[in-house]
């Protein structure tokens, strides 16, 4: 029965949740669920997993812009129908995985993928730069300081070589978030690209009382910079600009406090975070570059700075050493020296836990 706009409650189905996962498992996955014994990466982007039953599944991982049109999804379906029995999956970092259950099906799949222009780059496994986790940017959100998809495209173009190879000392996970809300969860990435504002919001006093809940706005400020204030006849707020660190959280609560500014906004780069518990504990990413201007359409300074960091790391780190582990070994003094990045006041923490980041030992390198 089709939808009836005049009676939306008719036949209404709610709270059914997602389809059960195994409905979409290819047979080889279903049959070998929990029985996998080991895996091997046969070449960058191509994995085999071997089951205790002897079964094998071959996976080809391909990079994708996370923003996909229905046309591209249909193209993916065409490939999956032709080679993979009509199944496909996405990874947690927005790559696409095509799987086949027999080695003989592998090369035809790869050939097919390669035949389709540059839509389906193969890679993202092992010690590579895999896909960049990112957010909406100027495509959809209201608080971004930067675009997301465009920067990701520019960076991946430049690092393309590292996507389809295993030449790095370890995995390098790059993420992007277009504002301090960090939807890209960039706070624990090997390299993080973060959109930053640098001007306190301006206040549209005549709008505040109509479009905002003043107490919520005040509560939203992490540094308690906002106070209520009467301006003329308007109930409004004032901002202690010295306390503002440009997070935009007040703007999220109140559209009458615009914070974006084409010339003020830009990018901060962070390095050395990780998530896995492998060898060392998960770590936050730390500030590497406090500010780079927005340079659409291809953000050359950002791209080149990331490349520089990546290449210094690649040439200096030991095998298995994630970016943060490498820096922990050589020390931040050497990181800044080797990358040629400037160490500035902005690098020294001055927020709540600042004192836990200061160097409280005479151990350092000259």
């Amino acid at each position: 029965m089709p939808f009836d706009p005049n009676d939306i409650m008719k036949d209404r189905i709610t709270d059914i949740g997602p389809p059960k996962y195994d409905k979409f498992f290819p047979p080889v996955i279903k049959e070998n669920y929990g029985k996998w014994k080991y895996h091997e990466i046969l070449e960058p982007g191509v994995l085999v997993h071997v089951s205790e039953t002897g079964a094998e599944v071959y996976t080809v991982r391909v990079g994708a812009a996370r923003l996909l049109s229905v046309d591209l999804i249909r193209e993916i379906c065409d490939i999956a129908d032709k080679h993979c029995g009509g199944y496909v999956r996405w990874t947690t970092r927005n790559n696409i995985e095509f799987m086949v259950d027999d080695k003989s099906k592998l090369q035809p799949l790869i050939d097919e993928l390669k035949s389709r222009g540059n839509w389906f780059p193969i890679g993202g496994t092992g010690a590579s730069v895999t896909n960049i986790v990112h957010t909406q940017g100027w495509i959809h959100c209201h608080t971004p300081a930067i675009d997301a998809s465009g920067i990701v495209k520019a960076v991946m173009d430049e690092l393309f070589d590292y996507f389809g190879s295993h030449k790095l000392p370890a995995q390098v996970r790059i993420s992007l978030a277009c504002c301090l809300n960090m939807c890209g969860a960039v706070h624990c990435s090997d390299i993080a690209i973060l959109g930053v504002h640098r001007k306190p919001p301006f206040i549209e006093h005549e709008r505040v009382q109509n479009v905002c809940e003043i107490p919520l706005v005040i509560a939203a400020c992490p540094t308690a910079a906002i106070k209520p204030k009467k301006v003329g006849d308007y109930k409004s707020i004032e901002i202690n600009e010295k306390r503002c660190m440009f997070c935009g959280n007040c703007y999220t609560m109140c559209p009458a406090l615009p914070i974006a500014d084409g010339d003020g906004d830009g990018i901060a780069l962070w390095v050395g975070g990780k998530v896995s518990n492998s060898r060392t504990a998960p770590k936050f990413s730390k500030l590497a570059v406090h500010y780079i201007p927005n340079e659409p359409p291809r953000w050359p300074t950002t791209v080149q700075t990331i490349k520089k960091i990546l290449e210094v790391y690649a040439s200096d780190a030991r095998r298995y050493e994630r970016v943060g582990e490498w820096i922990d070994r050589i020390g931040w003094e050497r990181f800044f020296e080797k990358t040629g990045l400037e160490f500035r006041h902005e690098h020294i923490d001055d927020y709540r836990l600042a004192m836990t980041t200061w160097r409280t030992t005479t151990q350092f390198k000259f």
């Binding site: 709270d15 996998w36 996405w90 696409i96 960090m182 706070h187």
Partner: protein, 424 residues
């Protein structure tokens, strides 16, 4: 067909080897004005170096408090087709396997009723249908539920769409059924997912092992991470094969050529607890000292495997920086058997939520409530016993809030007796 808006800057993003979202949008733009105006609006954002979206209003489907992000453009005069451009979050199947059948149906719906553009997937894990108008929300929802058996995901102050790593479906290391746990949570807490009643958002993420391929520890209010508490399984033959160069180390992650593994340098020395020894023939692991970091297993996947007494470590409180700063998850249950029907876990979750709903302030993430009220309050509410595994170090400040119940006379003094002993 030429597009309505000139996009000289975006055109630059059609170059280069990585797939171009611009080229992709352009082909839809040829037939869909919404995508066409999106390109124009985006080009203007590139010129201004400022986004052009306003705050979303409250839009959604009837009876749900989340799942749709309302969005309006701030120049409808120039780009009327994206005047409304709401996204719908569709709850993905756990670990994101699909049939082409369901994907094609989804594309058809979205071709007809939306922009034709998606994100596969959003950072939380949902399928993001990018851009439609208010009047399409109900029809899309109807078709999703009726034709696809799919439902919306979370947004707002509710439980967000849980997600997980590929786990046992295609990974040899998974210590728990990540998909099943994710499905169980999602289904059991449908009400919490669709009807915001929490102080703020709440996220679950489940990884099968400490490699944490879904980054649970960094971005889930409750992280479920598989682990084991017996011994690493060792195939000594295979260890020797790695050392002898017959097997490719790290499953080929560092190059697929065969080479002899320098087991001392590449494994033993990097073991964080130094609990391994290699005598040239056999590998010995003092499992009682192992912290199950996975490194040795990662490097020798054909020789080492996680133990068999598997379960999960539960951590809580991870989040992004707003307001009090970013947090990683903190261990609160070192080990729990995660087996259906997951009763022990449900009880924990419900006690945790009850406490947070009672105590949490508006827009305060669980981790922040714990920061504000102390871990003790959390552990007491969830009936968990303090354990040294919950801390990296015990406290180093002497600011201890002693429990008056343990002090003779509680908090009260006898001022008179005191002043008899001590003259003022």
């Amino acid at each position: 067909m030429a597009l309505k808006h000139k996009t000289p800057m975006l055109d630059e993003l059609e170059k280069g080897p990585w797939p171009s979202f611009v080229t992709d949008i352009k082909r839809v733009a040829e037939r869909k004005p919404m995508a066409e105006d999106l390109l124009g609006l985006l080009e203007m954002s590139y010129e201004h170096k400022e986004g052009h979206w306003k705050h979303g209003g409250i839009v959604g489907v009837f009876g749900y408090g989340g799942g749709v992000i309302g969005r309006y453009c701030d120049r409808p005069d120039l780009f009327p087709n994206v005047a409304h451009f709401h996204t719908m979050r569709v709850n993905q199947p756990a670990s994101k396997f699909y049939t082409t059948e369901v994907l094609r149906k989804l594309c058809d719906i979205w071709e007809e009723k939306g922009s034709g553009l998606t994100n596969m997937h959003g950072s939380t894990g949902d399928i993001i249908l990018l851009g439609t108008t208010t009047d399409q929300l109900e029809p899309i929802f109807y078709e999703l539920t009726h034709d696809l058996g799919m439902d919306l995901g979370g947004s707002g102050s509710n439980m967000r769409t849980p997600s997980c790593c590929v786990g046992k479906a295609r990974c040899e290391w998974s210590c728990i059924d990540t998909q099943d746990i994710t499905y169980d949570i999602t289904m059991r807490y449908q009400d919490e997912l669709h009807r915001p009643m929490f102080p703020y958002k709440f996220k679950f993420k489940t990884s099968g092992c400490p490699n944490d391929c879904v980054a649970a520890i960094a971005r889930a209010d409750c992280s479920i991470i598989g682990t084991w508490r017996d011994k690493i399984r060792i195939d000594q033959e295979a260890v020797r094969a790695y050392v002898g160069g017959e097997l490719v180390p790290n499953g080929g992650a560092h190059g697929t050529e065969k080479r002899a593994l320098d087991i001392q340098k590449e494994v033993i020395d990097l073991c964080p607890t130094k609990c391994m020894e290699w005598d040239g023939k056999n590998l010995k692991i003092w499992d009682e000292d192992c912290t199950r970091c996975m490194h040795c297993i990662n490097v020798m996947p054909r020789a080492l495997r996680p133990g068999l007494d598997t379960g999960a470590t539960i951590l809580v409180g991870a989040k992004a920086p707003i307001l009090e700063g970013a947090q990683l998850g903190s261990v609160v249950i070192p080990f729990i058997k995660m087996e259906p029907p997951y009763e022990e876990f449900h009880e924990f979750v419900e006690k945790m939520w009850d406490w947070w709903m009672e105590e949490g302030k508006n827009r305060e993430r669980l981790g922040e409530t714990i920061q504000r009220l102390g871990m003790k309050a959390f552990l007491e509410a969830t009936e968990l016993q303090p354990d040294p595994r919950m801390v990296n170090t015990p406290r180093y400040n002497p600011y201890i809030f002693y429990d008056p119940a343990e002090v003779p006379g509680g908090w009260s003094h006898d001022p008179k007796a005191y002043r008899e002993r001590h003259h003022a």
